[in-house]
């Protein structure tokens, strides 16, 4: 089983966001960066599937700056066999990222190409299915349950008020959601081994794309709220406010 995993370096989800002087990026001072949490499900699934198949190769691919080497080392420490850094500055158009990833993946002879369902920085929710279209491969998004057998797969994903069940044959592209598995932590042995695993750096240039980021801003502060009172006796006052002030009930 040959499996590729695309992963992104993102700020830790607890990071406080401060907008940089250019108004278009975040101030990275003191921000801890991690593997995009959804991509950890993709890494874990790749490792499990290769282990189950008993043979094959897992490859982690990341498009990003030099610091993303560290992100790829984490994947290697978890057990991925080799890594590729597509060295580039970030762009704001997911399609351009998809094009660069697709160019690298094409001809790689992968049975499965795994993504996270979304990157928690840009919330784009798009790169996986775009790559699938560019490579003309079947694609199922936001997979929370998966069985792979005899070159075919069945996947479940959550939709509003239900679970959608889909089938496809390999090779295929999947984007991974929470619930698919519990990602392993890198072991000490894994961390040592990762230092010797191959990490190839290939410079790429993204196209200009058709989305222009005009600026980032902090969300408007919520109006300061009020503590209506303590205990059940405060309930009538709350109901009155919801009815007359907020007009929501």
């Amino acid at each position: 089983m040959r499996i590729a995993v695309c992963l992104k370096r993102v700020p830790d989800t607890t990071a406080r966001i401060v907008i940089a002087a250019d108004g278009k990026s975040i101030d990275e001072t003191g921000v801890k960066f991690v593997v995009n949490p959804y991509d950890e499900y993709a890494i874990e699934e790749a490792l499990k599937l290769k282990e189950a198949a008993g043979a094959g190769e897992t490859v982690a691919i990341c498009l990003g700056g030099d610091a993303a080497q560290e992100t790829l080392r984490t994947a290697l420490a978890m057990g991925v066999d080799r890594a590729v850094l597509l060295q580039s500055a970030a762009g704001s158009d997911g399609l351009e990222v998809a094009r660069a990833l697709a160019a690298e993946l094409k001809g790689g002879n992968f049975d499965l190409i795994l993504f996270g369902k979304l990157a928690v920085d840009d919330y784009n929710h798009q790169v996986g299915p775009m790559v699938a279209e560019l490579l003309e491969l079947p694609c199922i998004t936001s997979v929370a349950h998966l069985t792979v057998a005899n070159g075919a797969l069945e996947a479940e994903r959550e939709i509003e008020g239900g679970i959608e069940v889909s089938t496809a044959s390999l090779p295929a592209v999947l984007t991974c959601d929470k619930g698919l598995n519990s990602p392993r932590l890198p072991s000490l042995k894994g961390i040592m081994a990762a230092k010797k695993k191959p990490l190839e750096v290939k410079p790429v240039t993204l196209g200009a794309g058709s989305l222009t980021l005009l600026g980032l801003s902090l969300p408007p502060d919520r109006k300061p709220g009020q503590i209506v009172g303590e205990g059940a006796d405060a309930v009538p006052a709350l109901v009155k406010l919801l009815r007359e002030e907020a007009k929501v009930i």
Binding site: T13, G94, E156, E158, G162, V165, S166, T167, A232, I249
Partner: protein, 323 residues
């Protein structure tokens, strides 16, 4: 003439309410740009409720019918929307499970960028400007859509459905040939076919403070009294197996923007706030007066939820004349 295409959604042959929000958003863009609104409705037969599309601003309703379209058919839907998008200046989808899957496929086919989960749209200098939350809602990005067509998915409950009656002439849209690389075989309904938290106008969520799964009956009762409400949960509760993952609100769950969000026994961790801070009104019930949830709440009551929630249910019923 500038043509705006709105992609409607149906489930089990009935138009989904969120489609009216998408049509309204398209109508507003069309009015600002001096254009017309086409709506594409995809299904395996007639879609009930499609007659409402004209009332919310559709100049033309394109119906694409195919026997394989009873359930979602990603490849077939993508081919159909890509065909309908020919010559369109803007294409809008709902940021639902279907829209989030479909829109990037269509964008890749058309070779144009996609702005997802948009919460506001504007037109400046003839271009569409989208506002979208990034970094788990900790920042807002303003993005200019320079592509043809400009493409966006719209987060449910953020752009109001408003009436703007138009002719809504009907036309059939031929479904182009497609290779069905993926087949949706069934939709399993969860045990309770309740309203989804991502779309409900009112969400009542419980956290670890509920103490045990059976106590969620208190929240079900409050939701029933409020009407049109869904019961959500924090991750702590979902991870403990008390509630389905489908009910989880937050960074690794759903993002909700209801009119009213009631957080009960939820501390208000940053990852939870990521999923609900765009709610219009937030109520927090927590016995810890220093819980971070009170920082985002419009109204809070400090105290024991087991006393407060039943009283709240009773007062709401009284208000509704049922108590």
């Amino acid at each position: 003439m500038t043509r705006i295409l709105a992609v409607a959604e149906q489930r089990d042959g009935a138009l989904r309410k969120v489609s009216l929000e998408v049509v309204s958003a398209a109508r507003r863009l069309a009015d600002a740009m001096g254009g017309t609104v086409d709506v594409v409705v995809i299904g395996s037969g007639p879609v009930s409720g499609s007659d409402q599309l004209a009332r919310f601003g559709a100049d033309k309703v394109l119906t694409a019918t195919h026997p394989d379209f009873a359930l979602y058919q990603p490849d077939g839907y993508a081919a159909t929307v890509a065909a309908a998008a020919q010559g369109a200046a803007v294409v809008l989808f709902a940021a639902t499970a279907t829209g989030r899957d479909l829109a990037p496929r269509v964008a890749a086919r058309l070779g144009t960028g996609l702005a997802t989960d948009v919460t506001a749209l504007a037109v400046e200098g003839g271009k569409v400007i989208a506002t979208r939350p990034v970094y788990a809602g900790k920042a807002l990005a303003r993005v200019r859509l320079d592509g043809t067509p400009a493409m966006a998915t719209i987060r449910p409950n953020t752009i109001a459905a408003t009436e703007s009656p138009k002719a809504g002439t009907a036309e059939n849209l031929p479904v182009p040939a497609f290779a069905a690389r993926v087949k949706v075989t069934q939709v399993k309904a969860p045990a309770t076919a309740a309203l989804d938290v991502a779309e409900a106008p009112i969400v009542v969520s419980g956290g670890r403070g509920m103490k045990e799964p059976a106590h969620f009956a208190l929240l079900e009762a409050l939701a029933a009294a409020l009407g049109n409400a869904a019961v959500g949960a924090s991750r702590a509760v979902v991870d403990a197996g008390w509630r389905d993952h489908g009910a989880q609100v937050g960074q690794t769950g759903k993002t909700v923007s209801p009119n009213l969000y009631v957080a009960v026994g939820i501390s208000g961790a940053i990852q939870h706030l990521a999923g609900m801070r765009t709610a219009k009104t937030i109520v927090a019930i927590n016995r810890d007066k220093d819980a971070p949830i009170f920082k985002v709440a419009d109204y809070g009551i400090v105290g024991d939820l087991f006393e407060i929630v039943p009283r709240l249910t009773a007062e709401v019923k009284k208000l509704r004349g049922e108590g």
